[in-house]
């Protein structure tokens, strides 16, 4: 009997366990289905946000629709892009010129959208190149790179290109301090001889053109990230500084000695005044200033030879150091402009600075000392509050409109949500794995959109189907509309997206350019109608004035080119309809194909290596007769007397 009872008890327990498990699964499935609905974009419908993800070591920007996580496009910025010939065509090569010559690659880190009155305005997107210090501006009418300016007197342009609240400036701080000006010296003499610079890049309010307004000469620390003030703190920018030890070797140990490093607070309005008052120096510098000429569609690269350098010793009130635990990475300013929130990556406690207390401390000269003449403020007297035992490895913060801060924690692989009222953590969610930056649409502006937060992770491991030793990066999307963060989806990202920004789609779609009007095309080699096509010889250069339309090139038979000639194909796309590009490539080309937008003229250089007749063709499927869109160019011996000739349909 006891045995039977025991058996009955066992069976009942089993049933109960199964029932509970099934119930739990149902709940989980319901949650999953709810999550799927929130990120699902039905066929033919659009995402609500454009996300711009930096490509990291691919040097580009990925455009990702959110919340779906679908990749919409890659914008080539600092690296050649074979897909459309960026950096290969004669028109775009000047965009990649630097003081070090043609540099067709960089490490792009932080996309930053332009702002008006502290809110996203949908005009431009800026991004930094870290390795050969540069800042680029992308025009959001065309999603094309329009400006690249090189930053002289810098090494590792990392704390960049963060914007002021009306995009008066974007900033560029050096991560790697260097001898300024560069010179041959012993690395062992780093301390007090190497310097950092914080550059303020003026953004022309009309056309977005970039120029270096001034550089501030700083002690040789590593300036890691930045954000500028807003509202009451407009006029200030804040840069994190680690390696205040000024180590030059084994930094992972030697730059982690000090219990507190700094946030550098820079008053750029005072900087402007000091420049006006003649307190800055004009020093020799050699850097490239590249921009796209809208009328011709040809990038122009100009070398500049000087820059305005401002030493804080000559400009009182320009710079202060805010003691900050420990080797801080991010520094972020909340939407009210009052709280300056660093991510002290080697400290488990978050210490938040108060902007208003900072001003009072400056006024009272409440300093605990100075570093190379720059006053160090009293930590306790500028403290707004601390989040104790927040997480491990806090890196970066974004904000919502309700007074919450979302902090990425690299070491503990999580996002924590805490409030600025009592500095208490209210929620935490795991990320997969090792989160770097995080992103809320508008999350670094005065007008965040309380929709979702994206985790940009450094490690992927088992999140997707394996693709050999190398894996793409992983991102996760979490709903933040309720009290608790809820993971909705997980999507792969290209390169290493360090940071991303997102903007409501309508702020961008309303300004989209669909074609380049032929009548506005002022390219010197444009051919605006088929009757005008021609081939001209200038010494050993042969210029082919070519047109493309569905589905033929004019001319498509060319003779009279000789070995030793350099041929320039200037191809004008005569189409005037959206999404009808034509491609162009010819045998043995040492460049990439051209992808020519409607109304645009692009040029590719071709140097034939041998005698023969070589085909060229359209690389972008354009119509039912796309396979017929082809032609031939004949290359004769160098001493041939065959005259140049060309035709179509004869």
């Amino acid at each position: 009997m006891k045995k039977r009872l025991g058996l009955l008890g066992f069976v009942l327990a089993l049933v109960a366990i199964v029932a509970i498990t099934v119930q739990a699964q149902k709940t989980e499935n319901r949650l999953a289905s709810n999550a799927a609905e929130q990120v699902y974009v039905a066929p033919g419908e659009y995402d609500k946000f454009y996300g711009f993800f930096s490509g990291g070591f691919n040097g580009q920007i990925s455009v990702v629709g959110l919340p779906s996580g679908r990749t919409l496009r890659t914008i080539p910025v600092f690296s050649q892009w074979a897909e459309n010939g960026y950096g290969y065509s004669e028109e775009t090569k000047p965009m990649l010129m630097t003081s070090q010559g043609f540099v067709p690659w960089d490490d792009s880190h932080h996309p930053e959208l332009s702002q008006t009155d502290g809110a996203l305005d949908g005009r431009w997107l800026f991004i930094n190149g870290n390795n050969t210090p540069r800042i680029a501006r992308i025009d959001l009418k065309t999603f094309e790179t329009h400006d690249i300016i090189e930053i002289p007197n810098a090494g590792g342009n990392h704390s960049s290109p963060f914007t002021t609240m009306n995009s008066e400036y974007v900033v560029a701080g050096t991560r790697f301090s260097v001898p300024i000006p560069q010179k041959d010296m012993s690395i062992a003499d780093y301390k007090s001889n190497f310097k950092g610079t914080l550059s303020f890049i003026k953004v022309n309010p009309d056309d977005g053109d970039l120029s270096i307004a001034f550089q501030i000469l700083m002690p040789g620390f590593d300036y890691d990230l930045a954000h500028c003030g807003k509202g009451p703190s407009h006029g200030w920018c804040f840069f994190t500084a680690y390696n205040t030890e000024e180590a030059h070797s084994l930094l992972e140990v030697n730059a982690s000695q000090n219990d507190k490093d700094f946030v550098a607070a820079i008053n750029w309005k005072i900087a402007e005044q000091c420049v006006t008052d003649g307190k800055a120096e004009t020093v020799a510098a050699n850097y490239a200033d590249n921009h796209m000429d809208d009328a011709t569609g040809i990038a122009v690269s100009e070398m500049r030879d000087s820059v305005t350098l401002l030493d804080p010793a000559n400009c009182e009130g320009l710079a202060y150091f805010l003691p900050t635990p420990k080797s801080p990475h991010g520094v972020d300013v909340d939407p009210t402009g009052e709280y300056i929130v660093p991510g002290g990556k080697l400290s488990a406690t978050l210490a938040i600075h108060s902007f208003s207390k900072m001003l009072k401390a400056i006024e009272a000269k409440d300093f605990t000392g100075d570093s190379y003449g720059i006053p160090i403020l009293n930590f306790d007297n500028i403290l707004a509050g601390q989040v104790e035992k927040a997480c491990l490895g806090p890196l970066h913060n974004e904000f919502d409109t309700k007074g919450f801060v979302y902090t990425s924690c690299f070491l503990s692989s999580e996002i924590i949500k805490w409030n600025l009222k009592n500095f208490e953590v209210v929620d935490r969610v795991p990320t997969f794995y090792s989160i770097g930056h995080l992103m809320i649409p508008g999350g670094d502006t005065m007008k965040p959109y309380d929709t979702f937060v994206v985790a940009l992770n450094k490690i992927t491991k088992d999140r997707y189907l394996p693709t050999g030793p190398e894996l793409v990066q992983s991102a996760q999307l979490y709903d933040i509309s309720g009290d608790k963060m809820q993971m909705l989806s997980d999507f792969p990202t290209m390169g290493e997206p360090h940071y991303a920004q997102a903007i409501p789609a309508e702020l961008v779609t309303e300004n989209q350019l669909r074609i380049y009007p032929l009548e506005s095309n002022q390219h010197p080699y444009a051919t605006k109608k088929e009757a005008d096509v021609k081939v001209e010889r200038e010494g050993s250069d042969v210029h082919v004035y070519m047109t493309a339309i569905r589905s033929h090139f004019a001319p498509d038979n060319i003779e009279g080119v000789k070995l030793g000639d350099t041929v320039y194909f200037h191809v004008t796309n005569l189409e005037q309809d959206w999404d009808i590009p034509h491609g162009f490539a010819t045998y043995g080309m040492n460049e990439a194909n051209l992808l020519i937008m409607p109304g645009q003229t692009l040029t590719v250089k071709w140097t034939p290596k041998e005698v023969g007749v070589f085909p060229f063709y359209c690389t972008d499927f354009c119509s039912a007769l796309h396979q017929e869109m082809q032609g031939y160019i004949r290359v004769s011996p160098a001493d041939s007397d065959i005259a140049l000739s060309w035709n179509l349909g004869q």
């Binding site: 074609i515 032929l518 009548e519 605006k528 109608k529 088929e530 009757a531 047109t547 339309i549 569905r550 589905s551 033929h552 004019a554 005569l574 189409e575 005037q576 309809d577 009808i580 119509s623 039912a624 007769l625 349909g649």
Partner: protein
């Protein structure tokens, strides 16, 4: 007699239908689908036709010739084959025309390259029509 009357009535009916049909000839041509619903043609405007010629050369001549078939059909006589509204709608609204207008669809099936939308203005399309009219008047 009866036969003659019937025969005459038949003839008269034919003639009436013929005259009516002739009168209705142009008006009966399909107008196509697009922004141009009705167009009152006036006397040929040579200056407008000259503007149309320049516009045609820039935006259309890569695919159309006047007297011979090229990528698209030869355009001599087009103003006799098609209503003026149809011609302008085909220039201004080719994507929808190919979908919804039977003749445009048949032309697409024959030539296989779709009529390109060159995004010319209504004013420019009107001048191109005038250029076609001047060709057909000669």
């Amino acid at each position: 007699m009866k036969k003659i009357v019937i025969g005459l009535s038949f003839l008269v009916t034919l003639v009436i239908i013929g005259i009516w049909g002739f009168a209705q000839d142009n008006a009966d041509l399909p107008k196509g689908v697009g922004p141009i619903e009705t167009l009152e043609l006036t006397e040929l405007d040579p200056a407008l036709a000259e503007t149309g010629k320049v516009t045609f050369e820039q935006f259309c001549s890569a695919c159309h010739k006047i007297e011979e078939r090229y990528i698209g059909p030869a355009l001599l006589g087009v103003t006799e084959r098609r209503a003026p509204e149809w011609i302008m709608n085909m220039i201004l609204n080719p994507d929808v025309m190919i979908q919804e207008d039977d003749t445009a669809y048949e032309l697409f099936a024959e030539y296989l390259t779709p009529m390109a939308n060159q995004h010319v203005s209504e004013e420019q399309a009107r001048s191109i029509l005038e250029y076609f009219r001047s060709n057909d008047a000669q």
